[in-house]
């Protein structure tokens, strides 16, 4: 969309992170990464479990500070203590478990939590909360309690709560991995809308290829480093060997590939269940 030509918002410069426990145990999770995330782009990061993508995500808003190299957010190096709060305001984060990241007992208080932390005056808060909840489509649920919401709704509350702090970028750290298909679609649609309408950068970390397909750019992360950085059609269309770096190909894609090998006329790049069902139905009607 508008990725090209925009200034870089988050820059990794030879950034690495090593987990240390005691003196002997060192686990390098991220190794010498050079990566630029631009304003307003929709970037998907895919990688298998343990590839270091979650560590990478936490380096984007100074939850983790690189042990080598540096990460610069909107001109601010993350290793300077004084920048931490401005950085976290610029780069918001939605986590994996929808139940564990909500602090408050109602939806509106949840959205207010970040604003309270920033010291926004009460009178202003109400306007911001109204606007944000309206935009995310939660206006009718403002007094609901988090434990009475579905997973997808909880994640949308988390997005609204981040959005209220007026970030430039939202990092979704496997935020759809615990949701049902409907909730996943719902959350993906919400962030895509924000990316388009608000020119908000979205970093979407996922292991669902069908979600990554919808991004402007896909980064394949493998063993703590960037293995591929390209547009989705390059990553999925040109037959890069994703199996080799331990990525799960969507079940429907594997099935359609298999059917293709058996001589059936099925497109091997199918990623969506609906598409697959349609292809099967087309096969049946032909016989």
């Amino acid at each position: 969309m508008n990725a090209a030509g925009n200034a870089s918002l988050i820059s990794f410069r030879k950034a690495g992170f090593t987990y240390r426990r005691g003196e002997e145990i060192e686990v390098p999770a991220v190794k010498g990464v050079d990566l630029d995330i631009h304003r307003g782009e929709f970037l998907a990061i895919v990688g298998s479990n343990g590839s270091g993508k979650s560590t990478l995500a936490k380096m984007m808003n100074a939850l983790l500070v690189p042990t080598e190299g540096e990460v610069i957010v909107d001109g601010m190096p993350t290793d300077e203590e004084a920048n931490v709060w401005d950085i976290r305001r610029t780069v918001g984060m939605v986590f994996q478990n929808p139940g564990n990241q909500l602090v408050s007992t109602t939806v509106e208080e949840e959205v207010a939590f970040g604003l309270e932390n920033l010291g926004v005056p009460t009178a202003e808060m109400h306007g911001v909360i109204d606007r944000v909840l309206g935009e995310i489509g939660l206006a009718t649920m403002r007094r609901r309690e988090p434990h009475n919401l579905s997973g997808g709704q909880k994640q949308r509350v988390a997005i609204a709560a981040v959005l209220a702090m007026q970030p430039e970028c939202i990092v979704m750290d496997e935020a759809t991995s615990m949701l049902d298909p409907a909730g996943r679609r719902d959350v993906l649609e919400t962030v895509r809308h924000l990316c388009r309408e608000r020119n908000l950068a979205v970093v979407f970390i996922t292991h669902f290829m069908e979600e990554a397909v919808q991004a402007d750019r896909v980064v394949v992360f493998h063993e703590g480093a960037v293995a591929v950085d390209a547009e989705p059609k390059t990553v999925f269309g040109e037959g890069l060997d994703l199996d080799e770096i331990g990525l799960d190909v969507p079940v429907v894609t594997a099935l359609s590939r298999g059917l293709g090998e058996l001589g059936f006329d099925v497109d091997p790049t199918i990623t969506e269940m609906e598409e697959f069902v349609e292809a099967i139905c087309r096969l049946r009607s032909r016989t």
């Binding site: 139940g99 564990n100 939590f113």
Partner: protein, 263 residues
């Protein structure tokens, strides 16, 4: 579901005048009530205090059954205190059984203790019956505010209570899930004596604790990511405001307390 059988903080939602009062008014009211209760030592005073309680319960439309039910868990303590007071107080002996003697002073003392405890428990439970836990937390944070200067961590305590309230239903759901998972593997939570049943809870409690700690970690990270850094420089979304009804309730209470002291 498990959580439906547990009333959290026994709050009984309603829209009565008492429900709508500022939580601070109610907390201070109950505090004043308790102090007065321990100052007076005559039955006319207790009668007056009982009138206040009954009137408040009527305005709050609290069913009598709810109030009496609140007494059940502490009934044993009341009976014990009353008995001990009756038996242990020295004075004019009325009748005796073996080494134990009941005195006139003892009976008087026991009756006073019974009045105090009954009114104390009924009235304090009225506070939690008519105030949502989260409002109670807000009220306490406001009231503790002035003591911050002498080192009372008012904001931190309130935040802890809020998080606890937020996670009670979550953990109850989790407990139910673990229970079912363990029952599917043949765990038995129902049979056996008290000790056996307590032992059987171990496979429920261990995973529950592990997951609670994981949740705490996740939550801390999420709070930090959203710029939480303690109470310093923090603004408030919910502002408590005292209204005319709070003023009126305050005046009625003070009049009532005064009347109870002088009669």
């Amino acid at each position: 579901m498990l959580r439906n059988s547990v009333t959290i903080g026994q709050y009984l939602p309603g829209n009565s005048l008492v429900h709508r009062l500022d939580p601070r008014t109610k907390i201070l009211g109950v505090l004043g009530y308790v102090v007065i209760l321990f100052l007076i030592r005559d039955f006319a005073g207790y009668g007056m205090m009982a009138v206040i309680t009954v009137l408040t319960a009527a305005v709050a439309r609290l069913p009598l059954k709810m109030l009496v039910r609140g007494l059940r868990p502490v009934l044993f303590i009341i009976v014990l205190t009353v008995t001990l007071n009756a038996v242990m107080t020295p004075g004019e002996l009325l009748w005796s059984v073996g080494p134990f003697g009941v005195t006139r002073e003892g009976l008087f003392q026991a009756a006073i203790m019974a009045c105090r405890l009954l009114l104390l428990i009924i009235t304090t439970s009225m506070l939690t019956l008519t105030t949502a836990p989260i409002d109670l937390t807000d009220g306490l944070e406001y009231l503790m505010g002035p003591f911050r200067r002498i080192g009372v961590p008012a904001h931190e305590l309130a935040m802890m209570m809020t998080i606890a309230l937020r996670f009670i239903p979550t953990l109850l759901d989790e407990a139910e899930r673990i229970m079912k998972a363990q029952m599917a593997r043949g765990a038995d939570f129902q049979s056996g004596g008290f000790i056996q049943r307590a032992k059987n809870m171990v496979p429920l409690l261990v995973p529950l604790f592990v997951s609670a700690f994981r949740r705490a970690d996740d939550l801390a990270l999420a709070m930090e990511a959203r710029c939480y850094r303690g109470g310093e420089g923090r603004s408030r979304f919910k502002i408590l405001k005292l209204g005319p009804s709070d003023l009126a309730a305050g005046l009625v209470m003070i009049t009532g307390f005064f009347a109870a002291l002088v009669v």
